[in-house]
Symmetry: C2
Subunit: 212 residues, 2 copies
DNA sequence: GGTAAATCTCGACCGTGGTCGATTTTAGAA
DNA sequence: TTCTAAAATCGACCACGGTCGAGATTTACC
């Protein structure tokens, strides 16, 4: 029997994850101790550390599940023919609702995903890449519909909108805007990105005519 | 003498801050214990907590000093008549150089400043507002030079560029781009923001003519 | 089955951030 | 100066995240 060990490990790992989902949801990440987590999973404290190197790593695995779930769910909710900005709003407001649902969890997740430590690069990169693969098709279609310029790398387009999303979430975490205002603020930023911050030729002519 | 107590408190507070600057710079934030900090400041461990509520709060005060210093220094380095994008690059690359200089410090600072906990709202808001006041004049001048649309709230313009800055820093922390690439990536994002992601009328005509 | 090596499990242990109440210092009235 | 209330100082103490080596379990070979 070479498989007994493998089988047990898989079982233990999922026991830890199940306990994590339950306890993190019940009392939050910080209020859940490793000891409690281990007991809930039916193992000793030290054993946790042969499955995850740090408490944060457990949180990452937890986030990975949550994000992959919500991402794939959200993509089915977008109408591929509606204007890009509407699709973006559905995607990003969907992700935001996950965050708004549990502020503390969301903050930790954003802190870790946006500014990850070196040891988490691989994991965050994986999650990011899966997400990028999903939204790329969305941006490509928008390009085909002439809603987006074709001379920009899709990565930069995705990055641009993601940056604005982060900005909106940051403004919310800073208490600068209320929960209900996040949607309208984000939409405004997205529209700005599409239209450009520099004045059009017509705008310029208009400004100049006024200056005379 | 009503002032003895006040005077002592001020002295102790600055002793803590001086110790913090020294020790954080020497060994980093995480490797410096409160006990060490207290000893270096010539006080007992418990006393620290009548000046700062948490270790993070000390870090915030430290960041505040660093940021205010670099911000005011950077503003003197910008030529108010050069194109907006050049001024933005000087400002944001200056701030980034502070971060790149000490990656761990920078990560904590960004994590805390972009996604602050409720108890730090007041402090982060203060720092942000001081920064905004400085850059607003820069954006206003750009509007007057017809480099920026005049129908957008300056707060949204500042937010837009700040979001893109965060995005560039995030890509760096995720290992997606190298230190030398941050500048060019950021410039590209800024230019995109100015030009707009949607195709111009001319672009559209060009795309459509090709499709025939 | 027997046995030795490899692997996994465990909780006592360490250093840390943060708390608390006993002790010391200061402010101000008598 | 003396006395008392208020405020500041302190380090023992607690709970936690993480380490480590002793002991238990599994594997692979006979």
């Amino acid at each position: 029997m070479q498989g007994i060990r493998e089988q047990k490990k898989r079982k233990t790992r999922s026991a830890i994850m199940e306990a994590a989902v339950r306890l993190f949801s019940e009392r939050g990440f910080e209020k859940t101790s490793i000891e409690q987590l281990a007991r809930a999973a039916g193992i000793g404290k030290g054993t946790i550390y042969s499955y995850f190197q740090t408490k944060t790593e457990i949180f990452h695995a937890f986030c990975e599940d949550e994000l992959d779930f919500i991402h794939s769910e959200l993509l089915t909710k977008t109408n591929p023919d509606s204007p890009l900005i509407e699709q973006l709003m559905i995607l990003y407001m969907g992700e935001f609702s996950l965050i708004a649902e549990n502020k503390e969890f969301g903050r930790l997740m954003m802190q870790q995903m946006v500014f990850p430590v070196e040891t988490e690069h691989a994991k965050t990169r994986e999650i990011d890449d899966r997400w990028l693969a999903l939204v790329f098709s969305l941006y490509r279609r928008a390009q085909e519909r002439n809603e987006l310029r074709r001379d920009i790398d899709l990565l930069y387009i995705a990055g641009h909108f993601y940056g604005l999303y982060i900005m909106a979430v940051s403004a919310w975490y800073s208490g600068r805007i209320q929960t209900e205002e996040v949607g309208s603020g984000m939409r405004l930023l997205f529209q700005q990105a599409l239209d450009g911050l520099a004045p059009s030729v017509a705008d310029k002519a208009h400004y100049e005519s006024k200056e005379l």
